[in-house]
Structures are given as structure tokens and as C-alpha cells.
Symmetry: C2
Subunit: 419 residues, 2 copies
């Protein structure tokens, strides 16, 4: 590696998460590689060296320096599950749900996912881009340097492709790394629900039109399905995912969010990179994830925002040997959350992870949930220079300072993305 080096020095503590280029599973999540007196050298888009400050300065005597000012130096967070491209917010629904109005009535009053479909279709590409840019900036301000963005509010072949093209523009425009997922199978479109055979027609459109077009145009790396009783069955999800794989896409799955639908088992059996949500995962689902490469991505803010009074069985997943990741699920209906650090608080307080496990879940395992385990999520030589400095002196302080964003500096691929 040649070129001008930049040294991140004078950290009080450094979370490296360094290790194999793979998800950390089970008890392997307990070690976040927390060190003191260690800095990072960046050359170009990569991390060149992780070592004590004086050794970095010896090796790179003419380097620029970023003073961490006795803060915490850490990998940038990887937010592996967002629906960050949407039109209007959905304020009314939050209150209606809280005060006991059932989902079907909320939907009948024009709320729910179909509200976001209507809104997205009415919003121009440029407006969607501007809204997403502003919203993603809040995620980045918390130290997120890689995020996934799903389509799924288009729900027609043309509108799904349009959404994914907006995501491509985001990917090209933003300093942070963006990975795209096609979630045409977010729901059966309303116009299909109202006609005989419409459900089958949408499944066929996904298989025959949308996923091939997405793959052809290189618009997304992943396909995803909302596998949940009342949305898509496990059998339908299997069909959609197999078709998507045949078209050349990798697989993710919304699995067992509120009811067990066999989603975890399906994701594991198909070798999906992740099974997401899992608040209602069965014992069989836990076992399936533990014996697969599929990352169990937990979205604790969603369960909290929905007021369900429960959370995914994170400890049982880890004890079974699964790899657990954390993500915001940022979306207008069930998780309008753009503060990634709040997830660390929820991970410790609600999911009962240790602080180190929460860090691993937020970095290495998030990367693995996007097929990026060899690329980002670690402070280690050869990894992408995706890092953040937080204004705390201890890795346990970020989960602790509930509701704060303490990120002072974030870099993605060797360039400042915050402030």
C-alpha cells in the first residue's frame, strides 16, 4: 500500500473487532478486541496498520494525524437492515396503534405499508433522493459507515425498479457505503389483492420480471421477502427466494417477526446471508440458524416502537451458537429510528448482551449480514477504512449513555463522512 497515510491517534480505548473475516458466532461474540493505546493508519481507502501510536508514527513519519482526543476509536457501524427510501412519515399510526386501534383498522383508515406505497408513488425521484439523503445523514451522524437500503414501497415492477434506481443514486452520491436489496415481496400490492389471481400474478411478476430485471441492471445485490403469517408463507417465500437466486441475487429474509412462520429455518436452509427480526423464532428456528452461516439480525427498536412488550431471544440465539447482528430497521411505520447508538443500549438492557457482544453485533456481524465480512466491520489491516471516533473513553459508555449520539468523526472508505 502506498500513498499518504492518515493516523488516528490518541484514543483512550480502541474497539478493533479484529479477527477472521467471518461472522462471530456464539461465545465468539464475547471478544470485541478492546485495546488501549492503539491507533490506526489509513492509506487511500484501506486500513494499513493497527498498532500503538508510537509505532504508527515510526512507520509513517510524514503522515497526517486525526487526534481522537482521548475518545473511543472503533469500526463504523454497519446498519444491515433499513427501508430508508420512503416518502411521508406516518405519525398518526403510531398513536393509533398505541391507543389500541388494531392494524387492520389502521390499514382501513389508509395507514400501514400501503400508505407508504401511495406516498412513494407520488414522490419524485429527486424528492425521494433528498429525503433519504437527509435521513441517512442522521444515521451517519451516529457512526454508521455502511448501510443497506431496501426497496419495497413501490410494489409494482416499475416502481420497485424506480426505487432501486434511487438507491443506486444514493450509493453513487453518498460518502458511506450503500448496499441495495430488492424487497418487491414486502407485501402483495393492493391492486393485486383486489382481483382474483392477483396474489399469484404478483409472485409470478417477482419471479419472471422484477428479479431478473434487477439482476440484469445490477440494481441490487440481495432479494428479500417478508415471510410472516398473513403476508407471505414460507412456501411462497421459498419460491420467491429460489427464483431470485436463479436470477443471480443473494438472499435475505424478514423472518418470524411477530409470529413464527418457519422463516428462520427457511433462511438457514437456503443459505440466506441473514434472517431478520426473529422475535417469534421457534426453538427449531434457533437451532437451524445456529448450524448455518445465516446471521440472526435483531431489530430491537422495532419491537420497542411497536409496544409489543417482547424482544427476540438474543441470549438463546447466542448460547445456541448463532451469529447475532443489530440493525435499525429504519422505516416510516414501525421504526422511525435514525440513532444507531440507541441500539447498543437496547442490546444490553433489553436483549441482555454484554457491551462487547453488542459491538460485535453492530460491526463484524452486521458486515457478515451483508456479505461484507472481509470488507468492513473491523479495524484490521486490509479492511476498508470505515471508522468512527466517539466522545467517550470506554466501549461500555456508548450503550450506557442512553439516547445520545456521541460520534465526533466518521470515515467511510478512507474519506470523512461525518461531520
Amino acid at each position: 500500500m502506498t500513498g499518504q497515510a492518515t493516523l488516528f491517534v490518541n484514543a483512550a480505548q480502541t474497539v478493533t473487532c479484529a479477527g477472521p473475516a467471518a461472522a462471530r458466532r456464539g461465545s465468539g461474540m464475547a471478544d470485541a478486541g478492546v485495546r488501549t493505546g492503539v491507533g490506526v493508519a489509513v492509506i487511500g481507502e484501506q486500513i494499513a496498520m493497527v498498532a500503538p501510536d508510537d509505532r504508527l508514527r515510526q512507520r509513517f513519519p510524514h503522515a497526517d494525524e486525526v487526534d481522537c482526543d482521548r475518545g473511543l476509536l472503533a469500526p463504523g457501524f454497519v446498519d444491515s437492515h433499513t427501508h430508508a427510501v420512503f416518502g411521508a412519515a406516518r405519525y398518526a399510526e403510531h398513536e393509533l396503534r398505541a391507543t389500541g386501534v388494531p392494524y387492520l383498522e389502521i390499514a382501513a383508515r389508509g395507514g400501514g405499508i400501503h400508505a407508504s406505497v401511495r406516498s412513494l408513488r407520488e414522490t419524485s425521484d429527486d424528492a425521494l433522493l433528498a429525503l433519504a439523503t437527509e435521513r441517512i445523514a442522521r444515521l451517519v451522524a451516529g457512526g454508521v459507515t455502511t448501510l443497506e437500503v431496501k426497496s419495497g414501497y413501490g410494489l409494482s415492477v416499475a416502481e420497485e425498479l424506480r426505487t432501486l434506481r434511487v438507491i443506486r443514486r444514493l450509493r453513487d452520491a453518498l460518502a458511506v457505503r450503500v448496499e441495495a436489496t430488492c424487497l418487491g415481496a414486502h407485501e402483495v400490492p393492493r391492486e393485486h389483492r383486489e382481483v382474483a389471481g392477483g396474489r399469484e400474478a404478483w409472485l409470478a411478476a417477482l419471479e419472471e420480471e422484477l428479479h431478473p430485471a434487477v439482476a440484469r441492471e445490477g440494481l441490487a445485490r440481495f432479494a428479500d421477502v417478508f415471510c410472516e403469517p398473513g403476508v407471505f408463507t414460507a412456501a411462497e417465500s421459498r419460491r420467491v427466494l429460489q427464483g431470485a437466486r436463479a436470477a443471480g441475487l443473494e438472499l435475505k429474509l424478514h423472518a418470524d417477526e411477530l409470529h413464527d412462520g418457519g422463516g428462520a429455518e427457511l433462511a438457514a436452509s437456503l443459505g440466506a446471508v441473514s434472517a431478520d427480526h426473529l422475535a417469534a423464532v421457534s426453538d427449531a428456528g434457533i437451532a437451524a440458524l445456529a448450524s448455518s452461516e445465516t446471521v440472526a439480525t435483531l431489530l430491537p427498536a422495532t419491537m420497542l416502537f411497536l409496544g409489543t412488550g417482547r424482544q427476540a431471544p438474543a441470549r438463546r440465539l447466542i448460547e445456541a451458537g448463532a451469529a447475532v447482528a443489530l440493525a435499525t430497521d429504519f422505516n416510516p411505520g414501525t421504526s422511525p429510528l435514525t440513532s444507531f447508538p440507541l441500539l447498543l443500549t437496547l442490546a444490553v438492557s433489553e436483549l441482555r448482551l454484554s457491551a462487547a457482544e453488542a459491538w460485535v453485533a453492530a460491526t463484524v456481524n452486521g458486515a457478515a449480514a451483508l456479505g461484507l465480512a472481509g470488507v468492513t466491520g473491523q479495524l484490521a489491516p486490509g479492511f476498508s477504512a470505515d471508522l468512527a471516533v466517539h466522545a467517550v473513553d470506554d466501549h461500555r459508555a456508548l450503550p450506557y449513555w442512553f439516547g445520545e449520539r456521541l460520534c465526533r468523526v466518521a470515515w467511510s472508505r478512507g474519506r470523512a463522512c461525518h461531520p
Copy 2:
């Protein structure tokens, strides 16, 4: 009222919470006085007029203007329950508790409230002042314009008085309004626990020395007791509070946080301004609060941070006719939360309040919980000019945008306190 006026104009929506100078009870909480096209005129420390922008400009043609830029104009939040003066943070405990280490073992390892007592005693007045100033600035950045601060980590007569003198310095130095509470009865001091008769000696010291000294020196308006099985019994709490009242202090009470100890009934029977926590309040306690003037102050962040999996029965309290307030409980052990707006999210999602009820709980009823119902918490003529402008266009948006601080401007007593 004479003097130069300042007009807050061009708000998209205005939450006035205007009405009687008293807590809103039961169904009375449902109306937050949400209006459109309405601004506020401030003269000196007070609100002079609340009216449509053009009428304000007619009445005060030479006024200065603050452009709300289509944001939300609202009363400043009243945070009626904090322990904001403390020394070191308690990171380790958060993780230990989450991973299942029982409280007694955490205490044996040097954690718990006694850790904060040790830390406070080792920290100079100036250092405590500096730490509290920085921490309170985060509360204010979320739109808090009045807050209560308790002692309770001194736990000797001298250290309690020292803490309250630090709080007095805060009160004199900060732009926001600070009300002080003496919480000498936070716990039995460790040095008293270790000797025969020590518990009784501390109760006597509170009654005979601390509370009279606090009242004499004007160091606090309120006395408070941690009434909870394992801390102080209802009988002990009654004794302490009656003594405090005799000394000239008003009363607050930590009541029924994790176990029902008859705290709510006690607070109501003594006419305390508030009973706080209440996650384990009994039906009799709810009935007692509903038929008293005592405000039920709920601290949902604490229950979340502790990972208890439950919350105070907010809806039952409101349906019974009680007045519910929200507060952060900001403290180093069980609620290191300095984002007041997050409480609004928790109020809707977890406590099942409507957005309007959450606003009333965060303003008018917080004021009532500090005996300030006629002073702050409303945008109405004659009230203190304590107000905030948030970068949203709807009062439901603040609970909705989970984890954000969207406060652009805050004023306390007619002066800018943020930014």
C-alpha cells in the same frame, strides 16, 4: 407588561397546553391545545400574548422576531425528577445487570448507589458543578427549560448539604430553572448499616439535623424518600416526610418502583406534590392518586434501561382520573438518559399515551409535579416565557422520530438557553 417584545412567529403548529393553572387529570390530559397559525409574544421573563401572527404584529409593531421556520412551537419540557449531580458514570453495572448478575452482588462488587456515594464524596464542588453543567446542557438541548435536581449521593449531613449547595450554584448559574430536592433518604448510608442502631440514627439525623438545616438555609424546596421494600418502609417514609414538612419542606416520594410498598397511598395521604416511578403501584395506590392532588410521575426510561420488561400502568392511572407526568430520572445507575424527547416516544409506544397526553405529561403535569402549575408548562399569557421550537411540523412527530433531538431553539424565563 411593558418592555421590548419578542415574537415567535411562523410556526407550522403550536402546542399551547393552555388551561387552568393545575395538573390535567384523567380525560383532561387528552387536550394539549394544539393550534395552527398561532405565535407567542414574550416581554421580559413572561409570555404576554398567544395569538395569530398578524395579531401579534399589530399589537407589537416594533417587536423583535424569532422565525420558527415552519417548526413546532411548544412549552419547554419540565423534567421533574433527576439526580443530575453525580461524579463518575457506572458503565460496568449496566452490563453486569444485563447479563444476570444480581443487584446484591453488583453492590458487593462496589456498584449500586454506594458507588455513586463514594464517587460524589471524592469529587470537588467545582468538578461536580462542571459535570452537572455539561450533562444538563444535553437535557436542555432537547427542549427542557425547567428541571428538578435531587441530592442523595452524599448520605451524610455534611455531604447532603454540600450537594445541595452545588445545586444552588447550578440554579444561580444556569439559564434554565432549577428546583432542588433533598433526598437524604435515598438509602441508609453504608457506614450506618454497619453499626447497631445505625438505621435509626440516620432517620434521626434526617429529622433533627438535615431537613431543618436544608429548610433554614433555603437549599431545597422539596424533601423526597426512596420508599421501596428493602430501602425505606412506608412507616419510615411517613416519619421522614412528616419531619420534613414540619421543617418547612414540600414533599415528593419515590414510590412503588419495583415492588408495591404502599408508596402511592402514602404520597397521596400526605399531599405530596408527586409520587414517582409507580411501576408496581397497586390498585389501591392508583385509586389514592386519582382522588388526590398528587401527580403520578412516570419514568419509563428507567424501566427500559433496567430491562425489567414492564412499565407503570399509565392508562389505568389516567382512566382512574390521575394526573400523569413524565420525567427522565436522569442518574448514573438506572437512567443515564439526557434526551427528554425519547420519553415522548416511550410514552406513546410503551405507556400507550396519545401524543397529546404525552405533551401534557411532559409540560403542564411536570410543572404541577414541582408545584409550578401556575408558573410554567403552558404557552399562555402570564406564564413564564419557557418555550422551545422543534424542527417538525406536527406535535405527533416528536414522539414519532424515535431517538432524535430536534429542538432548534429553547428559551427559559425569556432568555435563550439553547443553542
